[in-house]
Amino acid sequence: MFGRISLRQRLVYQVVATVLVIPFLFPLVAIVAISFSGQGPLANYTAVITQTPFFTFLLNSAVISAGTIALIYAVTMLAGFAFAKLKFTGRRLLFNAILVGLVLPSIALMVPMFIIVRQLGLFNNFLAVILPLSAVTVPLTLLLARNYLNGIPDEVIEAAKIDGATSFGTLVRIVIPLSRPITAVIIVWAFLQAWNEFFLPLLFLQDQNLQVLTQVPQFFTSTYGSDVPKIFAALVLVCLPIVITYLLLQKFFEKGLTAGAVK
């Protein structure tokens, strides 16, 4: 759309682009800079790792993320396959009923979730985080998976059926191998949701040994004044795994976040 442009125009574009990006860069740089201030980077980061149950929390975050990803993926692919490739009464109604979850503010469910978790005796159980998190994430992943699986030709499914495959065999041996792109998208999305979650673990995992990484910064906050550089060192360590994963899988992240919106 830019046509042929002169060196001067090119320079103008470069300057405008840079000016637009600076406000986005500034907080990122400031966060890292603050984490290096005070007693210095070494002391700050060592404090985060040694003065908090950092590795326990890291492990808990990893377990919750893995559980959430596994549950969301299994539930999404099973239902996505049925909604895309099987015909049954009430298909559309059930699909739309699940999609309602897309617009639901999860805070609106806080009180009932509390009661349900209490009734099921799930306090201090990772399931108290994994189940609600999956329930509010599945509507989106299901929409994405259904749309993707619709694109697999019916002939492929039919061929498997003629060869004697059961519908489950078809799903496992034919459909899932054909679904790598959407698998990556679902995993990325579920991982982001689980890793970044703050309130569900706070509410339902009150045993300190079960807390997750997003709680680490709280260790340096107290009523007597906070140790700001260490809080920021903690923030950097909390965010680092997800930023590294993003840099390695840039394409899947961007696809994962836009898959539902762009055809």
């Binding site: 637009l20 059930l94 009923a97 009932p112 329930a135 509010v136 619709n150 030709p153």
Partner: protein, 324 residues
């Protein structure tokens, strides 16, 4: 078997449609074969069952339970809550905090949606040009999207404090007059929250616009250039209209997002100073967890839910989603 591969089959779906080949066989006078095992049928329900249990179990059970609690005067613990009918709802409509919260969400929503769309579009356009270091720029704008809102909130509490890095930077570039106590000042707190949200989510608008800008037919640009249109004119007359679908998607997700916003408000301002940044979500949380007004909180949650559904349905109709 000829099954339509379309997305939403609006025709009858009784799950017993006869495959074309067996119909043909029967027409040729073969003895009626046992009906071939239909793909789908009852087993299909087994596939959707886990999703249904999960979503119905948490979402619908939750809504139903909320609906019931919303008719009670209950502190959440008392084994004998008192039923008060629709009193909680009538109370909502005369509750000035409710109306204030609603207006805060509206102001916040309008600001963040418009600014995020404008910035995202501007970046998508400029970055599609010959920009040096484009991928680095892209990463910078997108990284905030993947960060935990809890972490972002903690960071901005410090950055926006009176002696924080934002004021420092303003002083550094000679804009002392603009320095402010941002989140501690009732006049700027809501704007500060909007700025944080814009910082975190512009990358999303940007990526969406970028994907759809790259899909615009290059010939349109060439034709316009031959007709003597400049860059600005091309953007106004070709690019912006071509991106209609993306504008609609962002407006829709933006409205839902604004109504859902909780983490950053709760963790940055806690709804304050005073009630100057109270959102419906933070008000619900406070009523439920801090004030032990479970009934009233549930009624507020039902109002929020109806609001979200109505606005979504209204927009989907306005943007004509699902018609293609």
């Amino acid at each position: 078997m000829t099954m339509s591969p379309t997305l939403d089959t609006s025709g009858p779906e009784d799950g017993t449609g006869t495959p074309g080949d067996s119909r043909a066989r029967r027409a040729h006078g073969h003895p009626p074969t046992p009906r071939p095992k239909r793909r789908g049928g009852r087993t299909a329900y087994l596939y959707v069952l886990p999703a249904l249990i999960l979503v119905v179990g948490v979402v619908y059970l939750g809504i139903g339970y909320n609906g019931w609690v919303s008719t009670l005067d209950w502190n959440g613990i008392d084994p004998n809550p008192e039923s008060v009918g629709f009193d909680n709802y009538t109370k909502i409509f005369s509750d000035s905090i409710f109306w204030d919260s609603l207006s805060h969400v509206a102001v916040f929503g309008v600001i963040v949606i418009l600014v995020q769309m404008a910035l995202g579009l501007a970046m998508a356009l400029i970055f599609s040009g010959p920009i040096f270091g484009r991928n680095i720029y892209k990463i910078i704008v997108f990284v905030p999207v993947i960060l935990s809102p809890a972490a972002v909130s903690i960071a901005f509490r410090q950055l926006l404090s009176p002696d924080g890095q934002v004021n420092e930077a303003l002083r550094f570039i000679g804009l002392d007059v603009l320095t402010n106590a941002w989140i501690a000042d009732p006049k700027t707190a809501l704007i500060a929250l909007a700025v944080i949200n814009i910082w975190q989510w512009t990358g999303f608008s940007f990526i969406l616009y970028q994907a759809s800008v790259s899909q615009i037919d290059q010939n349109l640009y060439e034709a316009a250039q031959i007709d003597g249109a400049g860059t600005w004119r091309i953007i106004r007359s070709i690019v912006i209209p071509q991106l209609k679908g993306t504008h609609a998607t962002l407006a829709l997700t933006g409205v839902i997002g604004a109504l859902k916003t909780f983490d950053i408000v709760f963790l940055v301002t806690g709804g304050g100073p005073g009630r100057s940044t109270e959102f419906l979500t933070t008000y619900i949380y406070k009523q439920a967890v801090q004030q032990f007004n479970s009934g009233y909180a549930a009624a507020l949650a039902m109002v929020l839910l109806v609001l979200a559904l109505t606005l979504t349905a209204f927009q989907m109709r306005a943007y004509r989603f699902g018609e293609d």
